[in-house]
């Protein structure tokens, strides 16, 4: 793209550039999610002196599941068949409008923090309903636990991002990311640090990682998210797994972009998008490796201690907002 064209594009973000950017984000999240989970599995395995499955195992599993015959549990209603679609669909829409690669996504002003947080919540609720629908003990138990945790983590997530919205004076996520790029001093302000601590706790809880949930176990006493997927098989399971992986990559990408926004494209050119893609991959991979290393050395919390951890995150988020309102 020549200089004049780039300037023109910067002045008026063309629709096709925005569509391309959003599509690229969805593809990046859909492919990146299983890869990030594979990377974390690999890091954990290496730290435990095992070889571990290849990083691309998640993608291979998805390909295998899609080809399998569609089987549903007996006595399930339409809810069980709709839940994977809603989970995957909400993850796709959320990754299209969140500022992961660019600050100008397909819907102008569509990356509002309330929209993104509640799209993610919609996916969680759909999965919980799906887990309940088959009427098995494990599914119901998993759903009940997931909703117990979600009831505290969801408001904490909202309030933590709200603390940044107060400082950026806009509730749109692209606006917040663009604001941080313009004012890097925000990143060291007290409210930003408090919000980072709160968000880190919430993202761990929302994605079901140690110490809140252990994704690599099927132990009935401890599992939360895995329990809700037990009744799914074949293409349905592939949709649920893909949706969960996308949520993971999306939350990780949102976390790194809110606190380390460099690399996100604001010039709306294709070349900048590709740079942003590399930057996002590097940033999220680094974060995933750090989380995996922490997981290896941490034990899962008792279920009854989890609300304490999340309530702590909520207080941090509230402190961030109040600090942001008063200390300007």
């Amino acid at each position: 793209m020549t200089g004049a064209n780039a300037m023109l594009a910067a002045a008026t973000p063309l629709l096709w550039v925005r569509i391309f950017a959003s599509a690229l984000q969805v593809v990046a999240v859909a492919v990146g999610g299983p890869l990030l989970l594979g990377l974390m599995g690999k890091v954990r395995a290496r730290a435990e002196s095992r070889i571990g499955p290849p990083i691309t195992q998640g993608l291979a599993d998805l390909r295998k599941l899609v080809r399998k015959e569609a089987i549903r549990a007996e006595h399930t209603s339409a809810v069980a068949s709709l839940a994977p679609l809603v989970l995957l669909g909400s993850a796709v829409v959320a990754s299209a409008v969140t500022p992961l690669l660019t600050t100008s996504t397909i819907i102008t002003g569509g990356g509002d923090l309330f929209v993104v947080v509640y799209l993610l919540l919609m996916g969680s609720v759909a999965l919980a309903l799906g887990g309940l629908d088959a009427g098995t003990a494990f599914g119901g138990m998993g759903s009940s636990r997931a909703m117990t945790i979600g009831a505290i983590s969801e408001p904490a997530l909202l309030v933590a991002i709200l603390a940044m919205a107060v400082q950026a004076k806009t509730s749109s996520l692209p606006g917040i990311v663009a604001g941080t790029l313009a004012h890097p001093a925000w990143l060291t302000s007290p409210q930003w640090i408090l919000a980072l601590a709160a968000l880190a706790i919430v993202v761990i809880a929302e994605t079901g990682r140690i110490p809140v949930d252990n994704p690599s176990t099927h132990l009935e006493l401890t599992m939360i998210r895995e329990a809700m997927m037990l009744e799914y098989a074949g293409p349905d399971l592939s949709m649920v797994t893909a949706g969960e992986a996308m949520r993971f990559a999306l939350l990780l990408g949102l976390l790194v972009n809110l606190f380390f926004p460099w690399g996100v494209d604001t010039s709306r050119s294709v070349a900048a998008l590709l740079i942003a893609l590399v930057a996002l991959a590097a940033k999220t991979a680094l974060l995933a490796i750090v989380i995996a290393l922490i997981e290896v050395s941490t034990a899962k919390l008792r279920l009854f201690r989890i609300p304490e951890l999340l309530a702590g995150g909520f207080v941090l988020a509230v402190m961030a907002v109040t600090a942001g309102l008063v200390i300007k």
Binding site: P190, F314, V315, L316, T322, L325, V326, K328
Partner: protein, 219 residues
Amino acid sequence: MTLGFSLDLVELASGIVLATAVLTLWRKDLRALISALRIQGIALAAVAAALAFYIGDAGIGFVAVVVFAVKGLVIPSLLARVVRTDPGSREADPLINVPASLVVASGLIVLSFLVAGQFTGLLSDPVTRLAPLGLATVLIGFFLLVTRRKAISQIVGLLLVDNGVALVAFVLTAGVPLLVELGVSLDVLLAVVVLQVLVAAMRVRFGHLDLDQLRELHD
């Protein structure tokens, strides 16, 4: 050190004072409680030291040294010794469970911002906007005092109240005179020493530190 940087440091250290106050409600381990108190004392000293640069008053620098010595070093080590020598449980057992107390704490923080907002607006110095953080620390200290059973937790609550009052004094009046701070710090130190003796006597007499069980009179 530039003026802007020292102001940032005052803000950050005041934030740490409040964050450690929340930490005392969050963690159940008594040793973690005392570590939080130690960090809070050091952060309070940092507030005073940065204020000394910000205002350009050497007297507050001396206050910072006193605060660091008394609240950052001596009192936490005294308390740590009590916990170390206590054969009983090292977990605080709160009357109100942790998630509920944390939610109450966030309510107290919002309340103190609302209340303190009434008078911080009267002063023009940017430092005075930090007064709600100190007020919230005082309120959380009171909350700790009324909801904990263990003697150690109650001492920590009392010290939180004292640290909160000190923070409010620092940011509103731009530091207190050295003599006053010296008097207050020694007062608190004396109170902690007396409480430590009391705790030791309690352990010898009753074998535990649970204040709720002290219902009958003994000879």
